[in-house]
Subunit: 339 residues, 2 copies
Amino acid sequence: MGKITIFDVAKEAGVSKSTVSRVLNEKGNVNEKTRRKILKVMEKLNYHPNSSARSLVTKKTHTIGLVVPNIIDPFFLQFIKGAEDVGIKNEYNMMLVSSNWQVKDEWRYLRLLEEDRVDGILLISGRNISDSYIEFLESEKTPIVIIDRVLEKNIIPTVNVDNVNGAYITTNYLLENGHRKIAFVMGPNNMQAALNRYEGYKNALYDYNIKLSDELIYHGNFTKESGYQATQKIINDWDDVTAIFYSNDGMALGGLKVFKEKGIIVPDDISIVGCDNIRELSLIDLPLTTLSQPRYKMGYTGMELLIKIIENNDNIYPEKIVFNMEFINGQSVKNISAR
Amino acid sequence: MGKITIFDVAKEAGVSKSTVSRVLNEKGNVNEKTRRKILKVMEKLNYHPNSSARSLVTKKTHTIGLVVPNIIDPFFLQFIKGAEDVGIKNEYNMMLVSSNWQVKDEWRYLRLLEEDRVDGILLISGRNISDSYIEFLESEKTPIVIIDRVLEKNIIPTVNVDNVNGAYITTNYLLENGHRKIAFVMGPNNMQAALNRYEGYKNALYDYNIKLSDELIYHGNFTKESGYQATQKIINDWDDVTAIFYSNDGMALGGLKVFKEKGIIVPDDISIVGCDNIRELSLIDLPLTTLSQPRYKMGYTGMELLIKIIENNDNIYPEKIVFNMEFINGQSVKNISAR
DNA sequence: CAGTGAAATGGGAACGCTCCCAAGATGAGG
DNA sequence: CCTCATCTTGGGAGCGTTCCCATTTCACTG
């Protein structure tokens, strides 16, 4: 079915292809009358410009590559949604690539760029990207924005969340509610976010003049199972811990399981706070007090930034955007201040 | 930074662009020695063919449009993952479009086709696509596969699940476990899947010689809230209903909330089954007996089919693939047969 | 009514590739 | 040593646009 081209439109409208192109791109002067006529012909013939031909000469695809560590994890959906909404608004398409947390898959999204399939890349949750790859991207001057990875040495624009501050606020909230012996369940040591949350916890204690006790620090790896185990240890080790700070919600869920099994009531017997505000928690009866990353907003902002970079490629100064975590006041903390 | 083109490679290797093209596409005869040389030069110059230029002449983009009703809903992730895995294997990229359940957004994915950005479209969960649009796609002879929507009149290939059979098996399971008075919570009337599940329920009762009672049929709209309300009604209306069949898991969750509030123990006081096997349920302590759509497999198969259609465009006969639902035996049904 | 500048239009080159066709190289067979 | 088939290579056209430049049209002004 011979596709309609710009020539067909030109012929039908009795003008040259150049004029059609002009109305298509709203560039240059076109007599209003002919403009209307051409528009009418386009509609009549159901003409749509071929994007490949366009890209070939303009060097723009109006497509961005969206890289996600793992498409299966609902955690990333809000980021994607935020990015998508901006994309739609600016008429950008999104090419989806999941990196599977694998360094070896980095070539897959790199190739999108090399083959000029995309104008830039939005790397969501860049925690899994190797340093050498980031340096490579930097040297390539690729339009790219990385979400959820702090890059201090690199000039690449990033969108992040202030984990230190978030954990500080949360810990402080526990302190204000009279808690003094607060166990802390850490995440993986190699994860910046996990370390930062620990730092916030530490700072809050310090500012409250409470001595940090290493014995109250437990280790997990962000899974429900590891939260389960850590919680069992905590309960075994102490009978005067009044609150537990889980550095993500997954581990808090593991904790809840322990409490259920042992008949421990939250928050009457123990107060807990989590971190991340994962969707699954909304299904649980107890509203958890937790911190939320503004994921939608981060995706949204990241995409906006990326498009900005793509569209005025000159005089860019790299931006490092940092959002605050949002404190979500649930019902898993009890005020135990003596009155 | 002047991008490397096929000419640069040709020049450096001392051959013509045609020869380079030949080794690029592994088409036609090329002397093994020159082939190696060209390959080496490509690597040296880090040459990658421009996809727009290629598409312009071949009319193939090696990209497929993946349409999902709502990217925010984790329900669709398994479909996407299945499709993606096939895409990667066959070197297809995926353009992501969410339809937002809105008919008015149909133009957004249509345009991907019209602008020749994609070679075909995989419409996941086509429940939300208007009939007129489907007819349009059919008439356009667009390479398309629709997942999760039964199309009897149309010639478009689909991948579906046998809801009738699934509901039959589940209902039968309840019957085998001694339940006779089984309430049924329906989904929206305009949804094929919901109606089919009702049909399966009906058939099972019929084959078991149990008279269908309209009074045991309750209506919901697949939300947790509607399940909550329906369950309250059921409990109000009857004291001898021993089992409830929720036609999706979301409504079953609503039911669980009622039971918790009223101190009703599942499965001791009442047996329940759901349908869909949504991820959130894994976080709940009670393993629900439910039906699972093989979502990963459906996405996988749909994508395979689509690529097959795209790649040998001739003599296609439309396929209608139907998977069985998988029965997931949880712990929410009690055997109450008199012994 | 000639002259002028702006508005409107057309034509051609270029984008980077594939593909067809023609031509040169090679080698076997007589 | 010539012939012919096969392998190998090069050149040119064409894919559907955009964009630059040249040309035509037009409305005014003096």
